[in-house]
């Protein structure tokens, strides 16, 4: 069992890295790209038999308070078997 957490910059936050990647994609000839947002991906391995509901609650708390910074980032948490 593992948790997958995707952290992305909030839409209101300046994302110069995303903008630079977008420009590079355009230079490569990719048309129709209207935005790129560079974030982080965390994979957290969980012990077999972990209670999914409890893990979701605990990791949601960790994602909100530590793994992401709610001032500048959004996160998406998913737990998969």
């Amino acid at each position: 069992m593992k948790a997958k957490i995707i952290i992305t910059p909030k839409k209101a936050v300046l994302d110069p890295q995303g903008k630079t990647v977008q420009n590079a994609l355009e230079h490569m000839g990719h048309t129709g790209v209207t935005g790129v947002h560079v974030g982080k991906y965390l994979e957290i391995d969980l012990a077999p038999g972990t209670d999914k509901a409890a893990a979701t609650q605990a990791l949601d708390d960790a994602a909100r308070r530590f793994l992401s910074n709610p001032v500048i980032e959004d996160y998406h948490l998913e737990i998969v078997d």
């Binding site: 910059p9 209101a12 936050v13 300046l14 110069p16 890295q17 630079t20 982080k40 530590f66 793994l67 910074n69 001032v71 500048i72």
Partner: protein, 234 residues
């Protein structure tokens, strides 16, 4: 006056801060991040550097160090806390200051002298700074772009919590004088009680004329004066 200078793994301005504090006329000592107590001190400096390799986000791991619980209690009791550069990032991550510091808008590390407008001179951190001209201090950071949501920014402005803004030599807070894209040209802020402050520029690196500026020394002198005034009242 006794200053505690925190040391995290990869702090690299701790020696500079200790030296600056001594030049300003106070005593200082290092406090390792694993300490659970600050000891008997009058002020705390969270120095610059790259604590924990800037892993995850700048300052994100350092805020869990045992010493930060002691810093929180110290700040809650009204103690003076100054965060410089990475120290500013740590104080924001720890929730002692509002907002966050993100990548410079041009994605470059900036190492240069900047002019700073003292926006609110009526604080322990700013009272001794020159009033007739901008201050001159160096910056050295890759992630110093100050961000906060509109509501937070409005609150900072209305309460006078913006202490320093990037400006040009004449004191004008222009876009071209903004080295990193900080909202409102913000270089440093204080909390609502004005006992905790953070800034990206380095007062510790502008504390002697041989370094090109003594303006940074005034930040420490202001803190020492405020502490002296508190003692006199007590």
């Amino acid at each position: 006056m006794r200053f505690a200078i925190l040391q995290f793994p990869a702090s690299n301005c701790d020696q500079d801060c200790l030296h600056a504090v001594r030049v300003a006329g106070a005593q200082g000592r290092f406090v390792w991040h694993k300490e659970t107590s600050l000891g008997d001190v009058d002020a705390v400096v969270v120095p610059g550097g790259f604590s924990y390799g800037d892993y995850l986000r700048c300052g994100a791991i350092a805020r869990f160090s045992p010493v930060m619980q002691a810093v929180k209690r110290f700040a809650d009791d009204g103690g003076l806390v100054l965060g410089i550069c990475n120290g500013f990032q740590i104080l924001c991550e720890a929730g002692l200051l509002p907002g966050a510091l993100i990548r410079n808008r041009d994605l470059r590390f900036h190492c240069e002298q900047v002019f700073l407008k003292t926006v609110n001179p009526a604080t322990p951190f700013t009272s001794a700074l020159p009033k007739d001209r901008p201050s001159l201090m160096p910056i050295a950071h890759g992630e110093g772009c100050y961000f906060a949501d509109a509501e937070t920014l409005a609150g900072l402005q209305s309460r006078g919590q913006i202490l320093w803004q990037y400006c040009d030599a004449s004191g004008a807070t222009t876009e071209s004088a903004n080295p990193n894209g900080s909202l409102l040209n913000i270089a440093g802020i204080a909390n609502e009680r004005f006992n905790v402050a953070g800034l990206m520029p380095h007062p510790d690196r502008a504390a002697e004329s041989v370094l090109g500026s003594e303006d940074g020394l005034r930040v420490f002198e202001g803190m020492i004066a405020a502490l002296g005034a508190r003692r006199a009242v007590a």
